[in-house]
């Protein structure tokens, strides 16, 4: 039965002490065979299953997840959403996603808490100004809302920012008003619930061990719950995608590194937009609970430890305190790391490969959350049709042989 959420269901459940809410999805035991198995129960994977069922009429689908839903990078990012990327290919992909975000709460009838509070990218030197202004123009040509803010305009929006008295003064910024933040759990749970209603089996605590192939065709996947046969497998395992690809004999151009984030103690509303700075490497927004959500950088070395080096945190905090002296005495509550898979050109891979029936959606590096619905949507198309959607045709694996890279090191806010 389709679960409906409204002010009335909330009131009704409040009367019974919120103990009567129905389970959002089943927890079935895996069947022996599926048409499609998605490895990875984060937003991208669950969204892929949702769109496969909804737009492509496939029913016999499973999503297998090593831990719990959205417990990987979906739950470890800073939830920033924007589409102000430089190149046409990326702009189309991220804008496709942003448009889906704008309608997602009503489509899923589940509040993903998408808050379009605007995203600012700061310029701290002459080169930043040129690069960011170029990006603003490129965005405008692609129909993406983006404009240049002077220092005075920034001050008006974010009065607490120290623009002058610091080593790298703030000289201006790009601003995308339609950008913002969303609730990371909600996107995973919303997709999971609606996919489950269409018959998708969501299997948690089921770790993929090895992808099995035979004569260049997919056979299935060995998991901690036994061998599952499948016609098609989509791997959406972020940092661990490379490990799983290796088990099928495929080498992907990915390097896995910890990316850190941290949140402060909650305070009253003080910053009502998202401010990012790639030059001094600090970005911040304020959550609905009042915590500052701060994004740090990646470690310089490959690692699968979900913690990251302390020097990275130090760098970010240094920049934060310089930009916002008012935060200087705040306490940080939590810090964590997520393992991101980084591509040489800082763009994702949404592609089939040499093995028939095996598909990859990976390489999102430090900025995959914003793309969740768009990536899931075109990946579902790629899996169902055996060929890429027009939007993701540039993000294939062949580009590392042809050299037609989509170099987004400038627009990807975190230095790769």
């Amino acid at each position: 039965m389709k679960k409906k959420y409204s002010i009335f269901s909330l009131a009704k459940n409040a009367l019974s002490g919120h103990k009567e809410w129905p389970k959002m999805w089943r927890s079935p035991e895996p069947r022996e065979f599926y048409d499609v198995i998605i490895i990875g129960g984060g937003g991208h994977g669950l969204g892929t299953a949702y769109y496969l069922a909804k737009e492509h009429g496939l029913k016999n689908i499973a999503v297998i997840e090593k831990g719990w839903l959205g417990g990987g990078n979906t739950g470890r990012n800073t939830t920033i959403i924007r589409s102000n990327y430089l190149w046409d290919d990326s702009a189309h992909l991220y804008e496709h996603s942003l448009k889906l975000w704008e309608n997602l709460s009503s489509e899923l009838n589940y509040n993903v808490m998408f808050s379009q509070r605007g995203v600012m990218n700061l310029a701290h030197n002459e080169h930043d100004i040129k690069e960011i202004k170029r990006r603003v123009s490129a965005n405008n040509l692609n129909g993406i809302d983006s404009f240049w803010l002077s220092k005075e305009e920034i001050k008006k929006k974010v009065p607490i920012m120290n623009t002058d008295n610091l080593r790298y003064p703030v000289l201006g910024a790009s601003y995308q008003p339609r950008g913002g933040v969303a609730r990371h759990d909600a996107i995973a749970w919303g997709f999971a619930m609606r996919a489950d209603e269409m018959g998708v089996d969501i299997i948690q605590n089921c770790e993929a061990h090895q992808i099995r192939t035979k004569n260049g065709t997919i056979e299935g996947v060995e998991t901690s719950k036994g061998f599952l046969r499948a016609n098609k497998i989509g791997v959406v395992a972020s940092g661990h995608t490379g490990v799983l690809a290796e088990s099928a004999g495929i080498r992907l151009p990915l390097q896995s590194k910890p990316l850190q984030a941290l949140v402060s103690e909650p305070i009253k509303p003080i910053i009502d937009t998202v401010v990012m700075s790639s030059a001094v490497h600090a970005y911040v927004s304020q959550s609905d609970k009042g915590e500052l959500v701060i994004g740090a950088g990646t470690d310089s070395y490959n690692s699968f430890t979900q913690r990251g080096g302390f020097n990275i945190i130090e760098d970010t905090i240094r920049a934060m305190v310089e930009l916002y002296p008012v935060f200087g005495k705040m306490k940080m509550l939590r810090q964590w790391g997520g393992i991101v898979d980084i591509c040489p050109d800082a763009s994702p891979i949404i592609s089939k490969c040499d093995i028939e029936g095996l598909f990859f959606n990976c390489g999102w590096g430090t900025g995959g959350f914003k793309a969740t619905p768009g990536s899931a949507n075109v990946f579902a198309h790629t899996i169902a049709k055996n060929e890429p959607h027009q939007i993701n045709s540039a993000f294939n694996l062949d580009r590392f042989a042809s050299g037609r890279l989509v170099d987004e090191h400038g627009a990807a806010a975190v230095a790769h």
């Binding site: 770790e207 080498r251 992907l252 070395y301 913690r307 080096g309 590392f400 042989a401 050299g403």
Partner: protein, 116 residues
């Protein structure tokens, strides 16, 4: 934060070093004959194991010399560092703590020092 044993200077803080990615990568022979995909592989694809990994470091803020290292990427434990002209150590000499390809190590990531 790691303590890295530079083969020339001894143990130093990680902040003195820069990472150089996978070690022992060989440029393919016969540059005229090989195709785009082989070149692409050499240029873009590097090993990315969860577990034992040969990698390079350079002591940037020290002796500025490059050296190689075997590190367990699931725990960040550095198992051995060695000079560039030394033979690469056999990985069988080390115990990998990852039981399944994408599983977590028993002690939890980064907690090997506690166990010892």
């Amino acid at each position: 934060m790691l303590i890295i044993n530079c083969p020339y200077c001894g143990p130093r803080d990680q902040s003195e070093f820069s990472n150089g990615g996978e070690a022992h990568v060989k440029r393919p022979d016969g540059s005229k004959e090989i195709g785009d995909s082989e070149w692409g592989e050499y240029v873009f694809i590097r090993a990315n194991p969860k577990g034992l990994f040969y990698e390079r470091w350079v002591h940037t803020h020290g002796c500025r010399k490059w050296f190689n290292c075997v590190r367990d990427t699931s725990t960040d434990e550095i198992l051995v560092t060695y000079k560039l002209d030394e033979k690469k150590p056999n990985l069988n000499n080390f115990k990998s703590v990852v039981k399944t390809p994408s599983g977590e190590p028993e002690v939890g990531s980064g907690n090997f020092t506690v166990e010892k």
